[in-house]
């Protein structure tokens, strides 16, 4: 029997029992069964004790580490800001040297963006999302843990460089040629260290997207999902499409720095503008990646404060999605002063202004919700109100800046510094603090102090305006950004002094907040279970906390189940709903369909492990050693990282269960194993490859950019890629792909032997194809250091063969699986996922060979 028919059968057997009727839910469960199942569940989800604690992978542990680490990096970057404010307090100050100041502002921006804003969103989402969805955990807990350890290692590496005075000093935007030509390892630390963290960010984004799509509770159709889930989906998608262009840019940039391939060197046909495009195609969506999660927090706080469902749910969802799309069409407003044609400026001015509309809809929806409801003001709401006051001011200066002619004056001045801090403080920091106050009873079952919270608020709020309001004027009076000193005659002195005073008031506000956050609250009694009488599922968690998250996974019929579904908490506690028991002692969560959230699988999720930490350490080595041009240890680290990941996958991913199906509760029998689109892993691969393809598309964009922007992109008399090798290479990969697809089909039909042989053929042709692809470029006489034309061809070739090499490892994994009984006709998730990977790779191969082989001959 094949997997698909098995699926169909189990779901057809589920028809009778799903959705559960009121009668089924009314049925009582006796106390002893309740206690027995609770004990087993508790045991399965037990957090490791003692030093083993650090092997935990559960979202409630990883999320806490993640958010505290991100908060720590925020404080570090804040200290840098204070030191810079001291330097700028008076004109012609010599508190910091020029180079130190330049390192500080580079690290302040880089750390706030890459080590605080994005990781903080992911951290909070990892903490909150499973609870919002009544899920037990994220779909890939070890991936969360791996992402966290990567973030910690990379963050310490990048942030630590400041202590040795070797931090990057070319600005967080790293414009070449300044950054490509910068001496020392600073630029490499930025490129490699942050690429490492970006990879971790993408991993977390993939996991969050899969979590939202596949781990919702039964019945929670996509239009019943809490708004926070929608924002996670939108922001995750934005990370997926915004970070890859930057990674592609980093790839080219590091090739230029390490091997002198002249992508951004105008003397050899390169163009620094390509970096600006790639950077801002990332950089502008990044602004909304930072901003939307905070709107998401507001979207959770506002209905609770109003004690009414949100007004205009569909409008908000549409606006969030719309903002996500629009944000990719605005990047040029960071480049208004680069001399682009007026028609582009006009277009990007209009597109940038258009973002006001979805943002306005979201803000007005919150106001309308408050008007509909009976407002019960609380501390989180105070911060939301503060956020609104700050953010609207930042938004309005944004409307000014988006007008190209006005931007010509204030671009790269303190006016922009003021604007961006208004949007980020109002659109990120204040809502985040609101979120921490709001969710604190959920995280710890204790309360933070209202009195300290109000003191912190007024310090932060007034300090912020004292620091940043005068900067608008400083900028209009002509002070550029990123200057380590200034003369005393231009009228900037008193403005800067005021800003410095304000910055220190903000710092005191943060100290008060941090004290309140971290002070021990051991003696404080637990909070009530749902202290704000909120309507969403996270407030159903037990007090004191249990590592299992939801005692049982409920059936959902409303956007605000705790308001609308009577007895839901009581029934969850009684274990009346799904997965109330763990008879096999395994960690399990429910997988449902993407749109309607029909339950389709009981997924076994992974438990505590050290291998994720090992994998992160070696991945770190592979990124960090090349910074110092220590290539042999880098290669060894890379190999060990791959080995760790393979071990981790082999031992714990999609294991063959001891039984085909199991009783998920309420009479629902669900398969434990799933492959293909029914499984979470397949979605993970699919989403990851979308991001990967975006990076590849960015490289191809680079090729077309040079073609259109540079005369003589292909210098006359240049060599071409060897057509014969290239054609044979493409044909080899075609065989790889065809045999792989064949192998999957045959394996399903039970011809496992033939399938394995086909996989072997597939692997051999991959080796041949990879070799031919390399040779077509290596033997062509194209010298990558000589000009940008051979360099971009080499870059596309390297990108492609790295991917086919990874594909080869995957094929080897499947062959091993077929040999050792891990891959069987019913259990073919690995093969399905590898086939999916190769669908993407065959497209990559074809596009790459057309671009490097055919196009230059046509030019």
């Amino acid at each position: 029997m094949t997997q698909s028919t098995q699926n169909r059968e189990s779901s057809s057997s589920g028809v009778a029992t799903y959705p559960p009727t009121e009668q089924m839910l009314e049925e009582k469960i006796d106390k002893r069964t309740q206690e027995k199942t609770a004990d087993r569940l508790r045991k399965a989800w037990e957090t490791p004790k003692g030093w083993r604690y650090w092997s935990a992978v559960n979202n409630s542990e990883v999320g806490v580490w993640y958010s505290l680490t991100a908060f720590f990096f925020m404080m570090c970057a804040g200290v840098l800001a204070l030191l810079m404010r001291v330097q700028l307090a008076v004109p012609e100050n010599d508190f910091l040297s020029a180079d130190t100041f330049n390192q500080f502002f580079t690290m302040h921006g880089s750390a706030m963006m890459f080590l605080f804003a994005v990781p903080m969103f992911e951290a909070i989402s990892i903490l909150v999302l499973p609870a919002l969805l009544g899920a037990r955990d994220m779909p890939f807990p070890r991936l969360s843990a791996y992402g966290y350890w990567c973030f910690l290692i990379g963050g310490i590496f990048v942030m630590g460089s400041i202590l040795f005075g070797v931090a990057p000093n070319s600005g967080w935007f790293m414009y070449p040629p300044l950054a490509t030509k910068a001496e020392g390892v600073g630029s490499d630390i930025w490129l490699l260290g942050l690429s490492f963290i970006e990879v971790a960010s993408i991993a977390a984004a993939v996991e969050l997207i899969v979590g939202v799509l596949k781990c919702r509770p039964p019945g929670m159709r996509i239009n019943l999902m809490p708004l926070y889930g929608w924002y996670v989906l939108v922001v995750g998608g934005m990370i997926l499409f915004a970070f890859p262009p930057l990674i592609a840019g980093d790839f080219l940039f590091e090739l230029e720095r390490s091997f002198d391939w002249p992508f951004f060197d105008p003397e050899r046909g390169g163009d620094p503008m390509l970096w600006q495009h790639l950077f801002w195609i990332f950089g502008h969506p990044e602004v909304y990646i930072v901003f939307l999660p905070s709107i998401a927090i507001a979207a959770m706080v506002v209905p609770t404060v109003a004690q009414r469902p949100i007004v205009g749910y569909s409008w908000i969802v549409l606006s969030a999605v719309g903002t996500g799309f629009l944000s990719f069409g605005l990047w040029v407003h960071h480049m208004f002063t680069t001399g682009l044609p007026s028609i582009s400026l006009g277009f990007f001015t209009a597109a940038s202004e258009a973002v006001v509309i979805p943002t306005g809809i979201q803000l007005f929806a919150f106001v309308a919700t408050l008007m509909v409801g009976r407002v019960k003001l609380n501390l989180p709401m105070l911060y939301i109100a503060g956020a609104l006051a700050i953010f609207t001011a930042g938004g309005l200066t944004g409307v000014m800046l988006a007008l190209a002619p006005f931007d010509w004056q204030v671009h790269d001045t303190y006016f922009v510094v003021a604007h961006l801090h208004y949007t980020l403080f109002g659109g990120m920091v204040f809502p985040l603090i609101a979120g921490i106050y709001y969710f604190y009873p959920f995280f710890t079952k204790k309360q933070m102090s209202v009195r300290l919270g109000k003191i912190a608020f007024w310090l932060l709020f007034t300090g912020f305006h004292i620091a940043f309001l005068p900067m608008h004027l400083t900028g209009l009076m002509g002070m550029p950004r990123r200057v380590y000193t200034y003369p005393s005659t231009l009228g900037w002195d008193w403005l800067n002094m005021i800003s410095t005073v304000g910055a220190f008031i903000v710092a005191v506000g943060f100290l008060v907040f941090t004290y309140d956050l971290l002070r021990p609250k051991g003696k404080q009694p637990y909070t009530p279970r749902n202290p704000y009488n909120a309507g969403t599922l996270e407030w159903s968690h037990n007090i004191p906390d249990e590592a299992w998250g939801s005692r049982s996974i409920p059936y959902i019929t409303s956007r605000y189940p705790l308001w609308d579904q009577e007895k839901i908490v009581e029934r969850m506690d009684a274990g009346r709903y799904y997965l109330a028991d763990a008879p096999e002692g395994k960690r399990e969560t429910l997988i449902t369909t993407v749109l309607d959230a029909k339950p389709i699988q009981v997924m076994r999720v992974t438990g505590p492990a050290w291998i994720t930490i090992c994998a992160a350490i070696f991945t770190g080595g592979a990124f960090i050693f090349p910074t110092f041009h220590w290539y042999p240890p880098a290669i060894v680290s890379g190999i060990l990282a791959i080995a760790c990941v393979l071990y981790w996958l082999w031992t714990s991913t999609a294991p063959i269960p001891e039984q085909k199906t199991k009783d998920a509760g309420l009479g629902l029998n669900l398969p434990i194993y799933a492959s293909g689109p029914a499984s979470a892993g397949w979605w993970g691969v699919w989403i990851t490859m979308l991001g990967d393809s975006t990076a590849f598309a960015s490289l191809i964009f680079g090729f077309f950019f040079y073609w259109t922007a540079k005369e003589n992109f292909v210098p006359s008399g240049s060599d071409f890629v060897l057509a014969s090798y290239l054609v044979l290479g493409v044909l080899s990969f075609a065989v790889t792909w065809a045999t792989l697809v064949g192998a999957r089909a045959l394996n399903r039909r039970g011809s496992t032997k033939t399938a394995r042989n086909l996989l072997l053929v597939s692997a051999l042709f991959t080796i041949a194809g990879t070799a031919l692809f390399c040779l077509s470029v290596v033997n062509s006489g194209l010298e990558p250091t000589s000009h940008v034309y051979p360099a971009i061809i080499w870059a596309i070739m390297v990108w492609t063969v790295v991917h086919t090499a990874v594909g080869l490892i995957m094929l080897g994994y499947c062959i091993a699986g077929a040999t050792f009984g891990k891959l069987t006709p019913e259990h073919d998730a690995d093969l399905c996922n590898v086939t999916l990977y190769w669908h993407f790779i065959i497209i990559t191969v074809v596009v790459a060979s057309l671009v490097i082989g055919l196009l230059p001959r046509l030019l």
């Binding site: 007026s342 929806a365 309308a368 109100a385 001011a393 309005l396 550029p480 005659t489």
Partner: protein, 325 residues
């Protein structure tokens, strides 16, 4: 400690040599159009901010009365879509209508400015086939004329900005950008590099001197001439030092054997309103100070410090340069 004292000294001197550098205190047509745009935007922004936050305050504090769901949805659509759409359409039309004039070409002399780390190479192209007149770190313009400015850079990206005259334009290596300015007042207006360009980005400024048309032409004629030979003994000694210390490897002083092209042209450096790319006054003392403490005054600069020269030698050199009117 000594360095610190000297830097403070040079900074004191620095304060005496600045013109206006404000977006709001304009002296050029393009800048005054943009300043007007700013005042319109500012008033609009304040009104909108008060409306939005006033509404929020009203809703949460003053009158928390319940509203019907339909009225609430009307608020979302009216406030979130209709109102901003109308407002933005008008705003975009207004702002974009400014652009063609802002980007209009100049006539007459073309000024070619190249960004260097961290100074400005300036050439005046008269358009009559004669060789361009080379200068540095200062730009002179005729009043009431639209002058075309062509921009480039040598190694890294810079940005050319004189706030009192017009908006800024970036300067790229390997790519020419352009703008034009139309001063309406004579006077001295300060400009500064606005794109981060390395260690001493903060110290890359210049003065723009706007002259009456005839004065401008006379000045151009003087600027075209070779350097004046010093007549007094001390400056003459300075001239010899300039040669013997090898300054000519990087600097040009037309009419002498100094023909270097790496640093600023010094043919008429004594006649400029500032020294060191807008950071020091054009006095003999400042010249001496700069020559001796180059790297301390401008960190990362390529010019070496001539600290080994005696006080008298440094003074002579300073007097020579200051006399290059």
């Amino acid at each position: 400690m000594k360095n610190v004292a000297l830097i403070s000294l040079s900074c004191l001197l620095l304060s005496s040599c600045s013109g206006v550098q404000s977006v709001l205190d304009t002296a050029g047509k393009d800048a005054s159009v943009l300043a007007h745009l700013f005042w319109v935007l500012l008033v609009g922004a304040i009104v909108l901010w008060l409306l939005m936050n006033g509404l929020f305050f009203y809703v949460t504090r003053i009158e928390p009365r319940e509203l019907s769901r339909r009225a609430a949805e009307a608020l979302v659509i009216g406030g979130g879509i209709v109102f901003p759409f109308i407002l933005l359409a008008g705003l975009i039309a207004y702002a974009l209508s400014i652009m063609p004039d802002q980007r209009a070409a100049g006539d007459g002399v073309v000024v070619r400015v190249t960004g260097e780390q961290w100074w400005w190479r300036v050439e005046y192209d008269l358009g009559d086939g004669s060789a361009p007149i080379v200068s540095a770190n200062e730009i002179r313009l005729p009043v009431d004329h639209r002058t075309e400015i062509k921009l480039g850079a040598n190694k890294v990206i810079h940005s050319f900005w004189v706030p009192a005259l017009a908006g800024k334009m970036d300067m790229f290596p390997g790519r020419e950008t352009r703008m034009a300015v139309e001063p309406e007042k004579t006077g001295i207006f300060r400009g500064q590099c606005a794109e981060f360009c390395g260690e001493s980005h903060a110290l890359m400024a210049f003065q723009t001197v706007v002259l009456e048309q005839d004065e401008f032409e006379q000045w151009l004629e003087r600027e075209r001439q070779d350097a004046v030979q010093p007549t007094e003994a001390v400056p003459r000694q300075g001239e010899q030092l300039f040669v013997s210390e090898g300054c000519g490897a990087c600097h040009t002083i037309r009419g002498t054997e100094a023909q270097g092209n790496l640093g600023p042209d010094l043919t008429h450096v004594g006649s400029r309103k500032s020294l060191g790319a807008g950071i020091l006054p054009p006095t003999a003392e400042a010249f001496s100070n700069w020559t001796r403490h180059t790297g301390a005054i401008k960190p990362g600069v390529k010019m070496p410090s001539f600290a080994h020269l005696s006080d008298r030698q440094i003074e002579a050199l300073g007097q020579y340069l200051e006399a290059l009117k």
